[in-house]
C-alpha cells in the first residue's frame, strides 16, 4: 500500500494530514473525536462552543436532503445551532482529547455574543489545551441576531470580535466565513485586520430544500412550520471553491492560509480544494452520511495523486489552479471547438440530439435509419452541451475553427 507524507503546516501548526472534522455534530464529544483520530483524521474542529449565557434549544427533527434521480444527499439541510453540551463538558472533553492525542490537531470552534464572551471563550479553550481557534462567524440559523451569519456579513463586527479573541488567546486563529454574502473579501480582510491568522470557508448556505406538497410546509416540519437554514454537502462544493478562488485572487489575500470546507467526499474533491489554495480540509456532511471511515480513501487517493503528480510535499500543490482561473473577460473568445462523435462507443440514444435541439442550437443531425448523430457545422456553436449529456462519454472535443476575422493559430490553443 502506498505511503506518502501527507503532513502540512497550517497557521504554524503541523497537521499529520490535511483532513479534519469540521465543526458540527461529527465532532460533538470526546468519544466521537477519539474515534475519528483513531480512524486517521489529522485534526478535529470541535463542535462550536458558545457562551454559558446562551441557551441552546434545538428543534426536532432537524434535517432534510435533496435527491436527484437515484442519488440521495446531493445536498443536505440542517437546522442545528451550536454545541448542546454544557461549557464545562466541552472544556473537559477538549482537555482529555489533547492529553490522549498530542500529535493530532485539536481546534476549538467558538462563538460569542459580545466582545467579552468571545474573549472569555478564547481564553477558556486555550487553557483547555486547544492547538488553534476557529471563530464561527457564520452559522445561518442562530436564534440570536447577535450571533452567526448576521455577524459574519458585517466586516466591522467581525474585526471587533477577532480583536477580542486575540486579547483572550495567543493561539493561531482562523475566522470561518459565511457564503451568504456577495463578496467574501471585505469580511476576510476585516478579520485579518482584527488579528485572524487564516480563513476557514465555507459554512452552510441559507436554503429551503423541499416543500411538502400536501401540507404546504418546508421540510423538515416542526409543529406545522419550518425555516430557512443551512445547506451543505456535495452540492455546495462549487460555491465553496468559488469563494476560496475569489479570496486567493485578491492581491491583499493572495497568501492567506485557508482551510477549505464544503462538500468534500472524495480525494478528488480534496485535491480540488487544495489546488484552489486550501492547506487543510474540513468535512461534515459526507461523514454524517458515510462515517469517519471515508478518511481512508481520502488519504490513500490523495497519496496516489501526489505520486502521479510527482510531488513529495502536499504543500507543492496548494493553489496551483489559482492562476488558471481568470476573469471571464480575459478568456480567448476567438475560436470554436466542435464535438467529435465516437460512433463505436455511441449507444444511439439520441440524448445529444434532444439537448442540442431543446437547449442548444439545433445543430445535431439525427440519421433516423441508423439512429446516429452527426454535427451540422454551420449551426454548431461549440457549446458542448451534447458532450455533457451523452451517457457513454462518446462526444469529445474535436476540430477547432477560428472565428472569421480573428488571428489565431489553432494548433496553439490548449483544449
Amino acid at each position: 500500500m502506498i505511503n506518502k507524507d501527507l503532513s502540512i503546516t497550517f497557521l504554524g501548526v503541523k497537521f499529520p494530514n490535511p483532513f479534519c472534522l469540521s465543526s458540527s455534530p461529527v465532532g460533538n464529544c470526546y468519544d466521537m473525536c477519539k474515534k475519528a483520530y483513531q480512524v486517521g483524521w489529522g485534526g478535529v474542529v470541535f463542535k462550536t462552543i458558545g457562551p454559558k449565557s446562551y441557551f441552546i434549544d434545538e428543534v426536532s427533527p432537524r434535517f432534510d436532503k435533496l435527491n436527484k434521480e437515484n442519488t440521495p444527499f446531493v445536498g443536505f439541510k440542517n437546522m442545528e445551532q451550536i454545541a448542546e453540551h454544557t461549557l464545562e463538558e466541552n472544556l473537559r472533553d477538549l482537555r482529555k482529547l489533547k492529553e490522549e492525542f498530542p500529535n493530532q490537531v485539536l481546534i476549538a470552534s467558538i462563538m460569542g455574543n459580545d466582545e467579552q464572551t468571545w474573549e472569555d471563550l478564547a481564553r477558556m479553550v486555550t487553557e483547555a489545551g486547544a492547538d488553534m481557534i476557529e471563530m464561527n462567524l457564520s452559522c445561518p440559523q442562530m436564534t440570536s441576531h447577535a450571533m452567526g451569519s448576521d455577524v459574519g456579513t458585517n466586516p466591522e463586527l467581525c474585526k471587533k470580535y477577532c480583536q477580542a479573541v486575540k486579547r483572550g488567546s495567543s493561539l493561531p486563529m482562523m475566522a470561518k466565513m459565511t457564503p451568504n454574502i456577495t463578496d467574501m473579501v471585505p469580511v476576510a480582510l476585516a478579520c485579518l485586520e482584527g488579528g485572524a491568522d487564516g480563513i476557514a470557508a465555507i459554512n452552510t448556505i441559507k436554503s429551503i430544500c423541499n416543500i411538502d406538497l400536501d401540507k404546504k410546509i418546508g421540510l423538515p416540519i416542526v409543529d406545522g412550520k419550518s425555516s430557512i437554514s443551512g445547506y451543505s454537502g456535495k452540492a455546495v462544493k462549487p460555491v465553496a471553491l468559488r469563494f476560496i478562488q475569489q479570496m486567493r485572487q485578491d492581491k491583499r489575500l493572495k497568501d492567506v492560509q485557508i482551510s477549505g470546507i464544503g462538500g468534500i467526499e472524495t480525494w478528488e474533491d480534496a485535491a480540488e480544494f487544495i489546488l484552489v489554495g486550501s492547506r487543510t480540509l474540513q468535512v461534515t456532511t459526507a461523514i454524517m452520511q458515510y462515517g469517519y471511515r471515508i478518511v481512508e480513501d481520502l488519504k490513500n487517493g490523495l497519496m496516489h495523486y501526489m505520486e502521479e503528480q510527482h510531488v513529495e510535499h502536499l504543500e507543492e500543490l496548494v493553489g496551483l489552479a489559482n492562476k488558471n482561473i481568470i476573469p471571464a473577460e480575459n478568456l480567448n473568445r476567438d475560436y470554436i471547438v466542435r464535438p467529435e462523435f465516437d460512433l463505436d462507443a455511441c449507444v444511439h440514444c439520441g440524448r445529444c440530439y434532444i439537448s442540442c435541439y431543446d437547449g442548444g442550437h439545433q445543430a445535431i443531425v439525427w440519421d433516423e435509419v441508423n439512429r446516429t448523430p452527426s454535427v451540422n457545422k454551420d449551426k454548431c456553436v461549440g457549446c458542448l452541451l451534447c458532450g455533457h449529456v451523452c451517457p457513454v462519454s462518446a462526444i469529445s472535443k474535436g476540430e477547432i475553427t477560428i472565428k472569421p476575422g480573428r488571428k489565431q493559430d489553432p494548433k496553439k490553443i490548449r483544449l
Partner: protein, 413 residues
C-alpha cells in the same frame, strides 16, 4: 475456428457501469460479504474505495490480500461466498462483487501498477511442489516474509488447474500476468520436473529449509467400463489441450459427455463455443441434486447442449454407451464419435512420502505431515476450505504462516 471460445463470456464493467454497480452497494456495517470471502479479501472495503473514486486504493486492497485477485475475480463461485449474504439482496439482487473485482484488477493491469513487494531477505528458502493456486499464494506470502522460494511443477507451464479452466471464463493472459507479478518478486520456477519421479523429495528437502506439497487433483478419473476404449478422453485432458491450443483442436460432430459437475459444464460449453454440432451430456444426478452451479448449467443449456439427468452408464461398446435410469425402468443408448468422461479428478502423491485418506493428507492438524520439514496445501490438504481456487489460496496463506513458524522455532531446518 470461431473466436467465441477465446472471448470472455461475461462482459466486464465499463467506467460508467462500475460506478453504477458500486453505488448499489449499501456500504454495510460488519459487511457480510467480507466475512464470507475465504481469501480474506475485504470486498466491502474495495467497493467503498471504488465508490469514493479511489481505484488505485481499491487495487491495493485486492492485490495485497490475494496474489491471484484477477483470477478469483473471474472464477470464484461468488454466489456461495461473498455474494451469498449480501444485504442488497433485501432490496433486489446482490452486488456483482466478482465483476467489480475484475474491473479493479484490470485497472491495475492497464495502469501498470506495481503493488506487490518482497520482504527483507532472511537467508532461508522454501521449495513448493505444484504451481497451482495454493503453491502460488504460499510463494507470495513466503516471499513477503523474506524467504527465497522455488516452485517446482511437472508441467512445462505454471498455473496448475488454472490452465484447465476454459479461456472464455479465465483468459490465459490473466494467469500469465499473475504469475509474472510473482516472478518479478524473484520467485523462481523450475518447470517440467516431476518431484518424486525425476527429482527425489529428499533432494528437495536438502535444498530447502522446508517443502510444501501443493500437487492438487491433477489427474482425471477413469471408470472401469471405459478403460482402454480409444474413443474416450478424460475431461481435464481435453480442456487442457483446448486451452493450450487456443481452441485450435479438431473435434468431431457428435460428442457424448458423461458427468454433471462444473468440469462437465466447462466441457459442454467449450464444445458448443467451438461449434460442435451435437453435445449430449448424460448425468448421474437429477437436476434437483445437481453439483454444477446453476449459472454454468443454464449457460450450457442456453448454448444448446442436451442434458439428460438421472442416468447411469451400464454398458460400453466402442462408441456406444447404454445408460439406465437410476429409479425407473428406462434405458437410453447414445452413439457418439467421442466420449468425454467428466467424473472427477484424483491426486497422485507417488514418491512424495505422504499418505492420502479420502484424497487428503490428514494428520489431525491442517497442513502438516509426519515429516516436520514437509507441509501440504491446496486440494490435497485437509482444511475447512472448499476445493476451489479461492479455497486453495486460503490454504496457501495459512500454510505459509505454518512454515514460517516451523522454521523460526527450529522445528524445520
Amino acid at each position: 475456428m470461431d473466436k467465441k471460445y477465446l472471448e470472455e463470456i461475461e462482459p466486464g464493467f465499463s467506467p460508467l457501469t462500475i460506478v453504477e454497480e458500486a453505488s448499489r452497494c449499501l456500504l454495510c456495517l460488519d459487511a457480510p460479504c467480507s466475512k464470507a470471502c475465504p481469501a480474506g479479501t475485504n470486498p466491502d472495503r474495495f467497493i467503498r474505495s471504488v465508490r469514493f473514486r479511489n481505484f488505485k486504493g481499491a487495487a491495493e486492497i485486492v492485490r495485497e490480500n490475494n496474489a491471484l485477485g484477477a483470477i478469483c475475480a473471474r472464477v470464484c463461485p461468488t454466489e456461495k461466498y461473498c455474494q451469498k449474504g449480501c444485504s442488497r439482496s433485501g432490496i433486489d439482487r446482490p452486488i456483482d462483487i466478482g465483476r467489480i473485482q475484475r474491473y479493479i484488477t484490470d485497472f491495475e493491469e492497464n495502469t501498470k501498477m506495481k503493488i506487490l513487494a518482497s520482504g527483507k531477505r532472511n537467508g532461508k528458502s522454501v521449495g513448493i511442489v505444484g504451481s497451482g493456486p495454493a503453491g502460488l499464494e504460499a510463494a507470495y506470502m513466503l516471499n513477503k516474509l523474506g524467504y527465497d522460494v522455488t516452485i517446482y511443477d511437472k508441467e512445462k507451464v505454471a498455473g496448475g488447474m488454472l490452465n484447465f479452466i476454459p479461456e472464455y471464463r479465465l483468459p490465459n493472459r490473466v494467469v500469465v500476468n499473475e504469475i509474472k507479478r510473482l516472478k518479478d518478486l524473484g520467485i523462481k520456477f523450475e518447470l517440467g520436473v516431476s518431484v518424486g519421479v525425476d527429482l527425489p523429495l529428499n533432494e528437495l528437502k536438502s535444498r530447502h529449509n522446508a517443502v510444501i506439497l501443493g500437487v492438487g487433483y491433477s489427474y482425471g478419473k477413469m471408470l472401469p467400463a471405459f478403460e482402454g476404449n480409444r474413443n474416450v478422453i478424460l475431461a481435464v485432458d481435453l480442456l487442457k489441450k483446448i486451452k493450450a491450443r487456443k481452441g485450435n483442436v479438431k473435434l468431431p460432430e457428435n460428442i457424448l459427455v458423461i458427468g454433471g459437475g462444473d468440469v462437465a459444464m466447462d466441457v459442454n460449453t467449450s464444445l458448443k463455443l467451438l461449434d460442435v454440432n451435437h453435445v449430449t451430456d448424460v448425468v448421474y444426478e437429477k437436476f434437483s441434486e445437481f453439483k454444477a452451479s446453476k449459472k454454468e448449467l443454464e449457460g450450457a443449456q442456453a448454448l444448446g447442449v442436451t442434458i439428460i439427468d438421472g442416468y447411469v452408464p451400464e454398458k460400453v461398446k466402442g462408441k456406444t454407451v447404454t445408460f439406465k435410469h437410476r429409479e425407473i425402468d428406462a434405458t437410453i443408448k447414445v452413439k457418439a464419435d467421442k466420449i468425454i468422461l467428466a467424473v472427477g479428478q484424483r491426486p497422485d502423491v507417488t514418491g512424495l512420502g505422504v499418505e492420502l485418506v479420502k484424497g487428503e493428507v490428514n494428520e489431525g492438524t491442517p497442513y502438516v505431515t509426519k515429516d516436520p520439514k514437509v507441509f501440504v496445501a491446496g486440494d490435497i490438504a485437509n482444511s475447512k476450505y472448499d476445493k476451489t481456487v479461492v479455497g486453495s489460496v486460503r490454504t496457501g496463506k495459512e500454510v505459509a504462516l505454518k512454515v514460517d513458524e516451523a522454521i523460526r522455532s527450529g522445528r524445520a531446518k
